[in-house]
C-alpha cells in the first residue's frame, strides 16, 4: 500500500465516470501510508524472495506428501462449491458433504496458490520488464502487467475476508483443528 500510494491510477468506472477510486485519501491517512514509496519498495523486494521461496516450499511439500489429493479440485468440485456457497448463504438446506476439504475449499486453496504464482510472474514482468521483456509482452505489456498485479492484490483481500469470516462462523472446534491439526468428531456427526 506504500507503493500504491504514489500514483493511485486504479479505479472502477467507465470513461471519466469513477465509481470507486483505489484508494481514497482517507484510507492512506487513516493508516499513515503516504509518502513511503521508497521504504515500501525496499520491503517489497526483500520479502518478494521470501514469498517465492515459501510458496515453492509449500507446493513441493504438498506434492511430495501426497496432500495435493485433498486440495486439487476434481470434476465435482465446482458443483459442490456452488452447493457450499448456497448452504453458507442460507439459500439451501442441503448440507454439503463432510470431507477434509469440500469443493469450495479445494477451489479456493488451489486458486490462491495459482494467484501467488501469478503475482510472481506479473511482478517479475514489471520489475524486470526489459530482461524479461518476453514475459511482459505475453502479459499484454507493462501497463497491463501492473493492472494484473493489482487485481491479484484485490483477490487476496477478498480471500482474506471470506476466509476469516468462515473461520469465525465455523467456531472453536474448527479453529482448534486448524492450529493443532486434530479435531474431535463425535459419532453422530462423523458419518
Amino acid at each position: 500500500m506504500w507503493i500504491y500510494w504514489a500514483n493511485d491510477v486504479y479505479r472502477v468506472g467507465i470513461g471519466s465516470f469513477t465509481l470507486f477510486h483505489f484508494f481514497p485519501d482517507a484510507f492512506y491517512n487513516a493508516f499513515h501510508l503516504g509518502h513511503r514509496l521508497a521504504e515500501g519498495m525496499a520491503w517489497h523486494f526483500a520479502f518478494a524472495w521470501l514469498f517465492a521461496i515459501n510458496g515453492a516450499a509449500y507446493v513441493v511439500y504438498t506434492i511430495v506428501s501426497g496432500e495435493w489429493r485433498y486440495l486439487v479440485p476434481n470434476r465435482n468440485s465446482l458443483r459442490e462449491a456452488i452447493q457450499v456457497t448456497l448452504y453458507d448463504l442460507h439459500l439451501s438446506k442441503t448440507h454439503p458433504p463432510r470431507r477434509k476439504f469440500n469443493g469450495a475449499q479445494q477451489l479456493a486453496y488451489t486458486g490462491i496458490v495459482l494467484m501467488g504464482f501469478g503475482s510472481l510472474v506479473t511482478g517479475l514482468a514489471i520489475w524486470k520488464s526489459v530482461q524479461f521483456g518476453w514475459l511482459t509482452w505475453l502479459l499484454g505489456g507493462y501497463t497491463a502487467a501492473r493492472i494484473e498485479h493489482f487485481l491479484l492484490v484485490l483477490g487476496y483481500v477478498g480471500f482474506f475476508v471470506v476466509h476469516i469470516a468462515q473461520v469465525i462462523r465455523a467456531g472453536w472446534n474448527n479453529f482448534r483443528s486448524m492450529v493443532t491439526g486434530y479435531e474431535i468428531v463425535s459419532d453422530e456427526a462423523g458419518q
Partner: protein
C-alpha cells in the same frame, strides 16, 4: 485405548472437516479430552511463539538505523538484488520500442535542478576520462556531430505512471567512442549532474553503454523543452524515470559509485528493468 480411538492427525494445514474418529467409549472420552487439551496447549504455544517471532522481526527491521534513507537491512536487500540483476543483465536485451502512432504527450513530474532557464552558452563538462589531465568541454555542435538516433520508448516512472515518447539524440556508446579515448573499465560507473548540481544520478557502465541509452536534444520531434531538460538530457529506457536526468551539466567517469539523488532518499540505486 485402541488404535482407532486415538486422535489421529489429518494432514497439516487448515482443515474444516478433518479426519473422523470412531466413537470413544465413555471412559475413553476423558482420555481423548485430556489428550486434545494437551495438543491444544502445545500447538497454541508454538503458534504464539511463531507470531511473536514474526512481529519481533518486523519491529527490529523497522527500527534499524537508516542507510541512504532506508533501514540498513533493507538497503542490504536492495544491494543484493542489484548484484543479482547486474550479473543477469545482457546488452542484447532491448527495451520495447513502439510505432509512431503510439506516441503519447509527455508528462512533467520533477523539476529538481531546473530552477533556472537553460544557459544559452551551455557547455557539457566531461570529467574523469582515463589518462586525461583536463576535463573536456563540449558544445551542442560537438554532440550533434555524432550520428543522430531516434527511438520511441516507454518512460516508466517509479511512482507508477508511464509514457510512450519519441526521442532524438545520440547514443551514449557513440559519445564515449568519440570523446572518451582509452580503456573504460566495464565495472566502473558514470555520474551525471545538472548544471546547478541539485540533481545527480549514477549508472553502472553496462547500462550506460547499452545501445538504447541516449543523450537527447529532441522530444516528440521538437527541440527539448526547458521543463523536460533542455538543452541535453539522458534517456535510459533500462532505468526508471528517476535516472533519466534532465539538463546535463557534467558527466563524470569514475571507479567509485557516483552519488545518486534518490538513492540517498531511500530508493534502490540500481532502479533497472
Amino acid at each position: 485405548m485402541s488404535e482407532e480411538e486415538r486422535v489421529t492427525p489429518p494432514a497439516p494445514g487448515e482443515s474444516a472437516a478433518p479426519q473422523q474418529l470412531n466413537p470413544p467409549p465413555a471412559e475413553g472420552d476423558s482420555l481423548v479430552e485430556r489428550e486434545m487439551a494437551r495438543k491444544t496447549r502445545r500447538s497454541f504455544l508454538v503458534g504464539g511463539i511463531a507470531t511473536l517471532v514474526g512481529a519481533g522481526t518486523w519491529e527490529w527491521l523497522d527500527s534499524r538505523r537508516p542507510d541512504g534513507g532506508v533501514q540498513w537491512p533493507l538497503r542490504i536487500g536492495l544491494r543484493v538484488n542489484e548484484q543479482f540483476w547486474r550479473d543477469y543483465f545482457s546488452q542484447s536485451r532491448l527495451a520495447r520500442t513502439f510505432g509512431p502512432g503510439e506516441v503519447e504527450s509527455p508528462r512533467q513530474n520533477g523539476n529538481i535542478g531546473l530552477d533556472e532557464d537553460p544557459d544559452p552558452h551551455w557547455k557539457l563538462t566531461v570529467d574523469g576520462i582515463p589518462d586525461a589531465e583536463e576535463p573536456l568541454s563540449l558544445s551542442m555542435a560537438d554532440i550533434q556531430a555524432l550520428p543522430k538516433v531516434e527511438l520511441i520508448t516507454e518512460l516508466k516512472c517509479i511512482e507508477g505512471w508511464s509514457r510512450i515518447l519519441k526521442w532524438g539524440g545520440v547514443r551514449f556508446q557513440d559519445f564515449v567512442a568519440k570523446y572518451v579515448p582509452g580503456q573504460i573499465d566495464p565495472n566502473s560507473y558514470v555520474g551525471l549532474e545538472t548544471p546547478d548540481r541539485d540533481y545527480y544520478v549514477g549508472l553502472d557502465m553496462a547500462a550506460a553503454l547499452h545501445p538504447q541509452t541516449l543523450l537527447c536534444y529532441e522530444m516528440n520531434g521538437q527541440p527539448l523543452p526547458s521543463e523536460h531538460g533542455a538543452p541535453l538530457r539522458l534517456v535510459i529506457p533500462l532505468r526508471y524515470g528517476i535516472k533519466n536526468l534532465k539538463r546535463i551539466g557534467r558527466i563524470v567517469f569514475s571507479n567509485a559509485r557516483p552519488p545518486d539523488y534518490w538513492a540517498e532518499r531511500g530508493y534502490d540505486y540500481y532502479a533497472g528493468f
